[in-house]
Amino acid sequence: MRKMLAAVSRVLAGAAQKPASRVLIASRNFANDATFDIKKCDLHRLEEGPPVTTVLTREDGLKYYRMMQTVRRMELKADQLYKQKIIRGFCHLCDGQEACCVGLEAGINPTDHLITAYRAHGFTFTRGLPVRAILAELTGRRGGCAKGKGGSMHMYAKNFYGGNGIVGAQVPLGAGIALACKYNGKDEVCLTLYGDGAANQGQIFEAYNMAALWKLPCIFICENNRYGMGTSVERAAASTDYYKRGDFIPGLRVDGMDILCVREATKFAAAYCRSGKGPILMELQTYRYHGHSMSDPGVSYRTREEIQEVRSKSDPIMLLKDRMVNSNLASVEELKEIDVEVRKEIEDAAQFATADPEPPLEELGYHIYSSDPPFEVRGANQWIKFKSVS
């Protein structure tokens, strides 16, 4: 203790600008990395699975923590803005599922591809778009990533294909993106996500068949949060072993609340696909705290006790935080500081999303066709015309 105080005073003398907390952190020795046990994945048609231990570096840990906290706070802010009627329309939140979007991104390269359904805000962020562009899209403003025209379910970024409104339709799209990866010979993979509800859509099985036949580098990922809207998995599926539903496609069942488990499984699956063996299926067992969407309180088909139990025992952010603090990868104070920074970032983004103007009415007819010269579009009657620019 005395040694530490002496060190602190030395540093304080030489670095009067820095806040005291940061000085205290700088003076402490953190571990560079730590090894953790992770849950073994259930396997289908696979001799071996992902490793059961993994190394987490301090740098990665802090990055994942910040990203998950950003997604969490962004979703909670969206909840608040929706209740204030600043966001309207559909709004499907993914708080509770942060380990999925952050963990998947940690297991792939930015040059890989990802497509998902409507619970897409977390993926939009992890695929590289800033929070302000996401929130402004939710509020329907011109600073939104789709200039206010797409909304919650239709956000796009480089190598991120949305955001899709029709349940299950994104799965053949993802297989098609994987076909393009193979066609171009670029060693890229496509992560194609769908939920436990969508897993019963027929077109998914059509996509499984073609992906396996043509050995497409497609990782099919079922984000199983136990409820498709208000229908629990037991009431919707004759087989709830979603990782086996690909039948001839090998599968893994992964603890989707543990970001390290998700990361390792993703790395394993990506390596499998890149080796040319064809598609693979991952089921991420996860949970959403909010209801299906903002119009669903989420308690008519499940109990508050269940939600509370998951929050207290399996929260992905809490799990990572405990691991990092207990292994001396970070301190509680340092993580609290990240929380403060994230809150500020989200607050600034929300301010922007609220103050930014809506897209002008003249642009209503824009972007009907790509690469075409401007033309006239009929409005609500023959005398109202809009210009359409590509």
Binding site: I166, Y183, L213
Partner: protein
């Protein structure tokens, strides 16, 4: 299609029976032997699945030609055509183009019954974001297919099975590899002064069989969406009479839309009698 496959590596064809069977109607004969499995892909019987795969491939930068064995089967995949293909460029505010062609035979054939005879012109041309073309002869087919493949937008090309087997004279100009028919331009197949007859696809051929003493000005729409209403208006202002002919059902069809537009436009006052709609039933 052969010329476009040769010109651009990103173009490929997928559907049932297009490769080893050489096409259900032999439209793709010879292509698989020339280009192989990578560019000419036989799919399982999964319209929704392979149409979605084609749209996904287009989103990722390729230029797929997705054939439907007949457009009747496209109903199984219509969600992918409309929601995944047509609407995406607009919803993404221009970030995500979908350069895809959906083509195949459409409309009535000979004795194939209701499941295999529907005309989908009215269904597809209703949707913004799609372009819809409908060739009636070899010149149209050749000129349009190339425009359609080169275009960055989702295009629906409605062919006709009965016309596949008919030989047409191909003018020298149309035989060139660079011959293109642009979108949105109707063709006057025959000049006339008594009456304007507007049609698309195979019915254009029927319109050209004219009764003696009546000079019909026959307009072949070529592109249904965007429609060349100006050409129809100019003709009606000359002939003062209008008949529309189509292969679809009576209600809410191509002819109904043409009449509505004529009524709203400058040609209305030139009509000496109400327009007449002819159609399949």
């Amino acid at each position: 299609m052969d010329e476009e496959l040769e010109r651009d590596e990103k173009v490929f064809l997928l559907s049932e029976e297009v490769a080893q069977y050489a096409g259900a109607y032999k439209v793709s004969r010879g292509l698989w032997k020339k280009y192989g499995d990578k560019r000419i892909i036989d799919t399982p019987m999964s319209e929704m699945g392979f149409a979605g795969i084609a749209v996904g491939a287009a989103m990722a930068g390729l230029q797929p030609i997705c054939e439907f064995m007949t457009f009747n089967f496209s109903m199984q995949a219509i969600d992918q055509v409309i929601n995944s293909a047509a609407k995406t460029y607009c919803m993404s505010a221009g970030l995500q183009p979908v350069p895809i062609v959906f083509r195949g035979p459409n409309g009535a054939s000979a004795g194939v019954a209701a499941h295999h005879s529907q005309c989908f012109a009215a269904w597809y041309w209703h949707c913004p974001g799609l372009k819809v073309v409908s060739p009636c002869n070899s010149e149209d087919a050749k000129g349009l297919i190339k425009s359609v493949i080169c275009d960055d937008n989702p295009v629906v090309m409605l062919e006709n099975e009965l016309v596949y087997g008919v030989a047409f004279e191909l003018p020298t100009e149309a035989q060139s590899k660079d011959f293109l028919i642009p979108f949105g331009k109707a063709k006057i197949e025959r000049q006339g002064t008594h009456i304007t007859v507007v049609a698309h696809s195979r019915p254009v051929g029927h319109c050209l069989l004219s009764k003696e003493g009546i000079e019909c000005e026959v307009i072949n729409l070529c592109t249904i969406r965007p429609m060349d209403i100006e050409a129809i208006e100019a003709s009606v202002m000359k002939t003062n009479h209008l008949v529309t002919v189509e292969g679809g059902w009576p209600q809410f069809g191509v002819g109904a839309e043409i009449c509505a537009r004529i009524m709203e436009g400058r040609a209305f006052n030139f009509l000496d009698a109400p327009a007449v709609l002819c159609h399949w039933c």
